[in-house]
Homo-oligomer: 316 residues x 2
Amino acid sequence: MPACPDLGPKPRLGYIDSLIDRAAERRNDHVGLAALMADPHSGVYVIGGDLIVTRRCGEGGDPLFTPAQARALGDVRETVFLGLVDGAGRFGFGIDQARAEALESREDLLVRDLRSIAVQGLVAHDHLATLAEAKALLAWHARHRFCPTCGTPSRPVQAGWRRDCPQCRAEHFPRTDPAVIMLTIGGDRCLLGRSHRFVQNFWSCLAGFVEPGESIEAAVRRETVEEVGVACGRVAYFASQPWPFPMSLMIGCHAEACTTEITIDPLELQEARWFDRDEVALMLTRRHPDGLVTPPSTSLAHHIIRAWVEGEAAPF
Amino acid sequence: MPACPDLGPKPRLGYIDSLIDRAAERRNDHVGLAALMADPHSGVYVIGGDLIVTRRCGEGGDPLFTPAQARALGDVRETVFLGLVDGAGRFGFGIDQARAEALESREDLLVRDLRSIAVQGLVAHDHLATLAEAKALLAWHARHRFCPTCGTPSRPVQAGWRRDCPQCRAEHFPRTDPAVIMLTIGGDRCLLGRSHRFVQNFWSCLAGFVEPGESIEAAVRRETVEEVGVACGRVAYFASQPWPFPMSLMIGCHAEACTTEITIDPLELQEARWFDRDEVALMLTRRHPDGLVTPPSTSLAHHIIRAWVEGEAAPF
């Protein structure tokens, strides 16, 4: 086997390594939470649908407001307690997406979607994990204001970590959708695909949701057969990442291909093909002669692909 | 390090290694599905809440009915298409739990909860994975008959794999809750706990749900601190298992303990303590002098614990 390309220092994955203590025991402490909410040392993220509101600060933004500043930005639809950072409270305020869009015209504010913020590094890296927590939780509230069991409007309790139904008494917890994202490896090559929604020249790992009654490993095999017709044998877990678009948990794997012929599902993919290590190294470092690229380093796909290029994937 | 005990051949984990082809492309093929539903070669699992209805067969049960036989067992609240086994259709029929309870009195039927069926080996092992698929999907329907976004009764589509809202047009997909289950390892010992709901002398891994905005590794560390006050460093993925009680995905890990002092959360746990390898080997093989036991081999906890005893866990 030829030597693996050296790609230099590893960039940081986004949305992980949160500095927060979620302090779940405080979620029912109404007096303590009210005190934190009145404390100007508490920090609040303000989110309207996909948009994060930040205070413009050089080329980027500071995403933390005091509770009073945050309230002044718009009607708060939902408040969630995220936890404590160095003893200071952290909250998420949900406002309407239309209100967040209206704030885009203010010169003192920078309003962007979280994906752009992460990829362009518009806020300090340490905020990404807490923003992921806030965004996923607020997205759940926005889509779950009614009890799915009986249809009655439900009420947030536990500082935003549960919704209770006053009618049928059902307790509903935040939803997180597990999804697999995998690099399929066949000999010295790996398989990358292009979804219809990808920008030109962008290639990535295959991915899909884990279905009911399915293990991670089974989901990797099923998705790979469904999307490209390639059968997989061994599956090796690599790493995981919260993915708040809107509320997934990405479970990253390498998979061993047992067949090589590709038959794409045209509803899911536009293209898929095998790539050798040197070509992928050029894509990762944005030096490919045809301009082909892989996902940015904030995403798990980048790290799954890179680990294989650098010879750190499971040796199938 | 002393030699690891040899516990003999590994038992099979439950609910995995499904023989089914989920054939997702057929979920919208109404004509094809109607033909399968009329075909006496198709097999139907009949489930009422927690209870699986089977045809008594020696000491155990046969969980497959023809569509006509299944319909005769009770009013079908929900029908889901599970996939194909050797070309034959497999469906799940949801009936009311009260109806399933009433069927317990019939001498030709064996009606039991899925956990008992798995642990006691009451059906052929290969059915467990398909029963997990059916039970998780039907449990989702039973609790999600209304659109959580607007409160309107929703309609099952895609052969039971989606519910659509006729009012706000939202599409809702089956829910699967990712949960971590971990064995914390400190030097030559591992940490086991007893939940309040466990039967006497039963000890197991700690476990908990992955929260929004959290990686698998972060969830392992947070749950371990919350439940026993032990800080963890490295986390190594071991294996996963669908856990249809009612609709979880168990993600099994080994974790490296960085501290040893245990402070239990009395709301979550009754007891927790460190065990050495030899004592755990006796618990796994049901030879412990005080009758202490670990979970049965159908559960992922058994295999996580056993891998550590046999020296196959990540070497922290």
